[in-house]
Amino acid sequence: MTKPRWLLAELTYRCPLQCPYCSNPLDYVAHSNELTTDEWKRVFSEARAMGAVQLGLSGGEPLIRPDLPELVQHARNLGYYSNLISSGYGLDEPKIVALKSAGLDHIQISIQSPEKTLNDFLAGTESFEHKKAVAHLIKRHGYPMVLCVVIHRQNIHQMREILDMAVELGADYLELANCQYYGWALLNRDQLLPTQAQFIEAEAIAQEYKTRMAGKMKIYYVVPDYYEDRPKACMNGWGTTFLTIAPDGQALPCHEARVLPGLNCPNVRDYSIQTIWEDSPAFNRFRGDAWMPEPCQSCPEKHKDFGGCRCQAYLMTGDMYATDPVCGLSADRAKIDAAIAAANKDHTAATSRPLVFRHSRNSKIFVEKSQSPH
């Protein structure tokens, strides 16, 4: 059994923005019993003792936690490389300086679009100018600056402008993350999934900049798996590398794993990280390949992609053991093709449903739904 290398600490589900592609659970308001400062420190210490070295501080918006500098300081003392994964909204120079002196290694901020109106519309909040100013401050204080832009049908036509913006802001890394369809993004898939032609065009532009900017800006292009014939090697294999801790202390083998019914993810309030990693049924459920059904079980590629994503399998087929339906060998591939067709069919303003934004009023509706009998 390998040890965790990456600890993703989702410090809070609270967030001032309302991105309609947010990967947080739909019923996030039901999980608001956040870990305390001391509980987080214990989690960091125990995971570090097992060998975790990369620490992602995310959320929601991690800046909402007033104890963030204290947690960063603790992480630095333990020898973590700490990554703040933020929307950038709410960052200012004093905070940037305080986090730097606490030992923060890098800051990633996300921008919704290189165009103010669309950025502010998608974020649900006026935030564009502020985020750009924050990007400059991050650079000025000597952090590596990572810019993340989630790509979907509302902004994919701006690929060139997105890349130009990253160049202008002096990003050291640019993450072009094609939207993955979980959580709120799945809910809004018909409005978010681009066409294949759009993908091909956007990817060619990204490729052009990748060559041009080599040595100056690293561009990560997260491929849109719906248009692939093989699934992503999800989490580098279940329970091999990644450990996610949700705001309420649930330990998750992947940050979407809450959706899997009956998985019963353990809580750090009840168990040590070592017990969770090594002994919990949840972390052992999809380790190795014994659990795999056909066609994965006898497939020569099973150690390359591990049969794909368990959450996507469940969300699309209702069976968390199924082959990821993205795979061309899956009996359920037609479900992905149907989703593509549905999203591409008709999205004129008059007929399409408006985007559902991620905020607590909407989240409460999902909590009520999941509690009432169907």
Binding site: K3, R5, M50, G51, V53, Q54, G56, G79, Y81, N83, D105, H106, Q108, H136, K139, R140, G142, P144, V146, E168, G170, D172, Y173, A214, G215, K216, K218
Partner: protein
């Protein structure tokens, strides 16, 4: 963008013998007990190093290529290391792990 410092010379490209070599401020070089290895850490990534690569990078503290080779040869009581060291440093430069400075 007048408020950002100018980029260091030769952040990529050819390794030059008249430059000072420094480990990149945007990366961290660290010993990992769990892996019994030196690693390079950077935003959301990690590279595991073999012992000789780690020794070379530890010496990227502002000295020149020749001074670095001399120090290594003394440390390991060896000679003719220059070709291997140069080859590795070119990889390090291309990956942004080290920078060349004119001053």
């Amino acid at each position: 963008m007048s408020d950002t410092p100018p980029p260091p010379t030769g952040n990529h490209g050819q390794l030059r013998s008249d430059c000072r070599l420094r480990f990149s401020p945007l990366h961290r070089l660290q010993w990992e007990d769990a892996q019994q290895k030196y690693v390079i850490l950077y935003p959301e990534g990690m590279v595991e190093l073999n012992p000789s690569a780690a020794e070379i990078l530890k010496l990227c503290d502002g000295r020149s290529l020749d001074a670095l080779v001399a120090a290594l040869e003394a440390q390991f009581n060896a000679s003719e290391l220059k070709n291997d060291v140069t080859e590795f440093l070119e990889v390090a430069l291309a990956n942004g792990w080290i920078r060349q400075h004119d001053d």
